[in-house]
């Protein structure tokens, strides 16, 4: 064998090793690139793959009435969903058949109260889908029964649902929520942020099998549950008010009605109702018009109920006296203020100012208005802050309308004292009337008594300012005087039939024509009654407004459409029941008015001036 020289090239080895070493350096560069610039394209994908974010829902706060009764709460219900593909696969396996699946779906449909055919169609149509929602709002018992069926591919998911245990009571105050638990109207809307709390989030690190591994501290924000509200509403009084309102409205075939009950000394709104009402649990069943809280949002021309608010300041400013006699002289009066005649329902010859209010004489008020002039009437209305929102804690409040005095024509003055050409809301009327019940102070109506945090600790407490610190609408003496005058309304006045047998009520009726815009006033009325009780120490003020009771229907049934006949009995019943509930003792009898007042009253007789054969004096002597 021939041996050749062993050959080895160190230079070639060096070149190869340098190449490999260079490759290593290049790879390090590649690593560095992937970790820095290349990272920007991939990190998002990595993040999406490795983490799963979920929103932690905050529990919506509850709403309680003044006595701590739950008016709106949040309950957890279960939604049922299904994985149709998995379900079908399971039924096609291991000795089962699709027939069995149909049978099971029938059973399921019975449990969740659905049509079995529709349900199996729903599952069949989306047979390739992995997630179909079948039912919502299931309670725990139904879920347990569904579990017993042991169907594959079914699952439940908890959802928070707003729950109104009182049904439609206080519906307009609460308002209701949308599907996603966001307040739609009322308190739920006004205090949306407070009730909703703040939702948190969790970003969970997951492994490839989607098992949770860890949550970094910065990836977890616990939800802040919503705070609870305590309202000034008393659910019992609210219920009483709504029942009586509904009764009046249905009895008189009214279009709609509102009632506001307030505590005159604190301004607490004890009840606020609208008819027709709705159930906040099923908002889809009601129209948006019905859900309007018209006691705040829809101002109207109040008619005679405005008279005490002109009369009070007039008495305070010594423009008139309760005993001053107004020469009414019949049902028609040609005022220098306007061309159209001013009309009274009844004709009177002469009326003391006391009786101008008690009998609600438009003519008497017009005469007073002539004497006062625009500025004073305007100022009188402004004393009670008409035309300014009351600031009650509900959304959408309307300020009403009192035109600036510069824009008043002379006929506006004439209308204003009778309660026309100005617009007020029932809430404003009620607030104004509180001044006569509490000694002349203008309270601020409010609905919120306090706020609790999610754990039930008090966060804040509404502190009603002392009555003495409230602005004065009329002075104390005047307010007592007017209160005394108005206490005669159910005894001798326009609400004669509506006197309470238990309590002394002071109030003012109103029957306003409904304005049809430019075409004048139609044969439609707004009957209202504004009252407080008991007269000695007022605890409640009630404003009940019934819109458009059917006059034809009333005539057929020998009923009247006047405020004293329609709204006053309802308001009286509210007072009776609510004061009994508040355990207010029976009132003593009201002392009769000074004899001089009653003596002035002369019934006007059509023949008094034309046919002298019958005189009012003679009639009185009988």
């Amino acid at each position: 064998m021939v041996i050749f020289s062993p050959q080895f090239s160190a230079r070639r080895a060096a070149v190869i090793m340098l190449l490999v070493g260079g490759a290593f350096v290049a790879l390090i560069g590649r690593v560095a690139y992937l970790q820095t610039y290349g990272r920007q394209q991939t990190i998002e994908r990595a993040d999406r793959q490795q983490h799963q974010s979920e929103i932690l829902r905050a529990r919506r706060g509850s709403i309680f009435d003044a006595n701590g009764m739950l008016m709106a709460g949040t309950v957890q219900t279960q939604s049922l969903y299904c994985d149709p593909k998995f379900m079908q696969d399971c039924y096609q396996e291991d000795g089962k058949s699709l027939v069995m699946m149909d049978q099971d779906i029938d059973k399921l449909a019975k449990l969740i109260d659905k049509n079995p055919i529709e349900l199996s169609e729903l599952i069949g149509d989306k047979s390739s889908s992995r997630f179909v929602k079948i039912a919502e709002h299931l309670d725990d018992r139904t879920v347990a029964e569904i579990d017993k069926l042991d169907m594959p591919g079914l699952g439940t998911m908890p959802t928070d649902e707003r729950y109104y245990p009182m049904g439609s009571i206080a519906a307009h105050i609460l308002g209701g929520v949308q599907k996603d638990n966001v307040g739609l109207e009322g308190i739920e809307l006004k205090y949306e942020k407070l009730l909703a709390g703040k939702e948190g989030f969790k970003r969970v690190l997951k492994d490839a099998r989607r098992r949770p591994i860890a949550v970094a501290a910065e990836d977890y924000l616990p939800p802040q549950n919503g705070q609870h509200l305590i309202l000034t509403i008393d659910a019992n009084i609210q219920m009483i008010a709504e029942q009586e309102l509904a009764r009046v409205c249905t009895d008189y075939r009214a279009n709609r009605g509102e009632v506001v009950v307030m505590d005159p000394k604190t301004g607490d709104v004890l009840a606020l109702g609208n008819w027709p009402n709705f159930n906040p649990q099923n908002l889809e069943d009601s129209k948006p018009e019905v859900r309007r809280d018209r006691a705040l949002t829809d101002p109207y021309e109040p008619g005679s109920t405005i008279k005490p608010f002109v009369a009070g300041p007039a008495l305070e400013w010594k423009i008139t006296r309760p005993g001053e006699v107004f020469p009414v002289h019949g049902p028609h009066y040609k005022s220098p203020l306007r061309s159209k005649l001013v009309t009274d329902v009844h004709g009177y010859d002469q009326l003391a100012f006391w009786d101008v209010l008690v009998k609600s004489s438009n003519i008497g008020m017009t005469m007073l208005g002539e004497r006062m002039g625009k500025d004073r009437v305007y100022n009188a209305l402004k004393c009670f802050k008409f035309g300014v929102p009351t600031g009650v804690e509900l959304p959408g409040e309307d300020p009403g309308l009192v035109k600036p005095v510069a824009k008043w024509g002379s006929s506006d003055l004439c209308s204003a004292v009778q309660g026309y050409s100005i617009m007020v809301t029932p809430m404003q009327l009620c607030r104004g009337f509180c001044a006569y019940a509490n000694g002349g102070r203008l309270v601020e109506p409010h609905l919120i008594k306090g706020v609790l945090d999610a754990d039930g600790e008090i966060v804040s407490r509404a502190k009603p300012s002392a009555l003495e610190l409230m602005p004065e609408a009329v002075d104390r003496a005047t307010s007592l005087e007017v209160r005394r005058i108005l206490a005669d309304v159910p005894i001798r006045g326009t609400a004669k039939g509506a006197a309470s047998k238990i309590y002394n009520i002071f109030g003012k009726t109103g029957t306003a024509h409904v304005s049809q815009g430019a075409s004048g006033y139609a044969n439609k009325y707004t009957s209202s009654f504004l009252c407080g009780a008991p007269f000695e120490n007022p605890r409640l003020v009630v404003a009940m407004i019934v819109h458009e009771p059917d006059p034809e229907y009333a005539k057929e049934h020998h009923m009247s459409y006047y405020g004293g006949a329609v709204a006053a009995p309802g308001a009286t019943r509210i007072i009776d029941r609510a004061l009994a509930y508040l355990q207010v003792p029976e009132s003593p009898a009201v002392p009769p008015p000074p004899p001089a007042i009653a003596a002035v009253l002369y019934d006007y007789h059509a023949n008094l001036y034309g046919d002298k054969s019958v005189s009012a004096r003679d009639a009185l002597k009988d």
Binding site: Q7, A10, A23, A46
Partner: protein, 420 residues
């Protein structure tokens, strides 16, 4: 190099590198195989324990092999039957065939790569890889045949090619690695350039055909161009590896804090361990790993630079080349610089017997750095013998050949020729 208290000897550098890589490997395999959904705290995982045990065995093997003279290990004296290299070649060949036989070879993930051998499993491709290195080291340096002849060159390629072909059936990546490594050794072994140039194109064609005719390999190549076209199938490995680098960033997530190993990154203890290292240790981990391989290369370079026997030089080069090439390809795969190949990161990946075999080979490098044999006398190629002078036999004497009658007279002939 003389031992000195001031400088690390070459073999100490090698020991340090091997030890560090083994430690890094054991640590990262343990980390990558950790499962966090159980109890919190340190627990040895099954894969981690296994790898640590094998690393210990490998280290022992490294020292045992390293302290035996490499010339004794690769003894080629005394006929074909006592030639260790030939035996090694034979064993590698036989096991490579055996592993292909059903019921003997173990099939894992659709590839028959493992040969059960008692409690452990051996990858014949690992054996084949080193058998080729040792065979070429011996063959190229002692040159039992005249390699300048193309036929002899082809003869040299027969065992290399055979092992390559046997391996390619089990494991395309290792076969490619063997081919590339053999190529570098042939280059360094001073075979004729044109021999190589003739052989390379057919080899490339064969490789290309091999890639094309299996559909999954072809799809992998396509997926490499755009991994996001099949993010759940062929592109999955690459995307997950890329995401590991992104998750870790330059600073890394910290040892044990990797996320991609939690089921996202496939083969996280073997082929893609480098991605885990980078995710947890950041750029530092990458630099450390590469520096350790460069350290091994440095030792090999220092050995082959010495004035010594060419077998030692060639062994040093072959071993260094094989380890660094494998590491390079693995890292290139992990960084999605080349299409996916199933190659482990030597000494770091969890590999069981492969770890021991690699360490044995590196032990040989240790032995090369420890035992220095004198350079062979440069044997001049024997003077080419002068071409033997051809003895020209004198033509036999012409004896009484009857002349044919002269048809043309001399005079006419002369006239004819001279006249021109």
């Amino acid at each position: 190099m003389d031992p000195s208290i001031y400088r690390l000897r070459l073999r100490d550098i090698l020991t340090l590198c091997v030890l560090s890589l083994l430690l890094l490997g054991a640590l990262m395999v343990q980390s990558a195989s950790m499962n966090v959904s159980g109890n919190v705290g340190w627990r040895w995982t099954v894969a981690g324990t296994r790898d640590a045990i094998f690393a210990a065995i490998a280290l022992v093997t490294f020292f045992i092999v390293g302290n035996i003279d490499y010339r004794k290990i690769l003894s080629t004296k005394g006929g074909l039957l006592r030639n260790h290299v030939v035996w090694l070649l034979g064993i590698a060949g036989v096991t490579s065939v055996l592993v292909l036989v059903p019921h003997i070879g173990l099939e894992v993930n659709g590839a028959r790569r493992w040969l059960p051998l008692g409690p452990v499993q051996v990858q014949p491709s690992e054996l084949a890889k080193w058998a080729v290195v040792f065979f070429l080291s011996w063959w190229l340096t002692s040159r039992p045949v005249n390699l300048d002849k193309f036929s002899m060159f082809l003869f040299t390629l027969i065992p290399v090619g055979a092992l390559c072909l046997l391996t390619v059936i089990q494991d395309f990546g290792t076969a490619a690695l063997i081919a590339v490594c053999a190529m570098t050794m042939l280059v360094v072994g001073r075979v004729k350039w044109w021999h190589l140039l003739v052989v390379i194109p057919p080899a490339l064609c064969a490789g290309a055909w091999f890639v094309m005719h299996k559909e999954y390999r072809w799809r992998r190549m396509i997926a490499f161009v755009d991994p996001y076209s099949a993010p759940q199938k062929e592109g999955y490995h690459m995307i997950q590896s890329l995401l590991s680098f992104a998750t870790g960033g330059v600073t890394g997530k910290g040892l044990g804090n990797g996320i991609q190993k939690l089921g996202y990154l496939p083969e996280d203890t073997t082929d893609f361990i480098f991605a885990v290292i980078c995710e947890e240790l950041g750029l530092f981990g990458a630099l450390l790993t590469v520096a350790l391989y460069l350290g091994i290369m440095y030792v090999a370079w220092q050995c082959l630079k010495q004035k010594r026997d060419s077998l030692g030089r060639m062994l040093a080069f072959g071993i260094g080349s094989m380890v660094s090439l494998q590491a390079m390809i693995n890292i290139a795969v992990a960084t999605v610089s080349v299409p996916t190949k199933g190659l482990s990161l030597p000494l770091v990946s969890a590999g069981g017997s492969g770890l021991v075999i690699t360490c044995a080979a590196l032990g040989l490098l240790y032995s090369v750095s420890k035992f220095n044999h004198p350079e062979e006398e440069p044997i001049q190629p024997a003077e080419p013998e002068p071409a033997p002078k051809r003895k020209i036999k004198p033509p036999p004497p012409v004896e009484n050949v009857p002349l044919r009658p002269n048809l043309v007279s001399d005079a006419i002939w002369k006239q004819w020729t001279v006249g021109n």
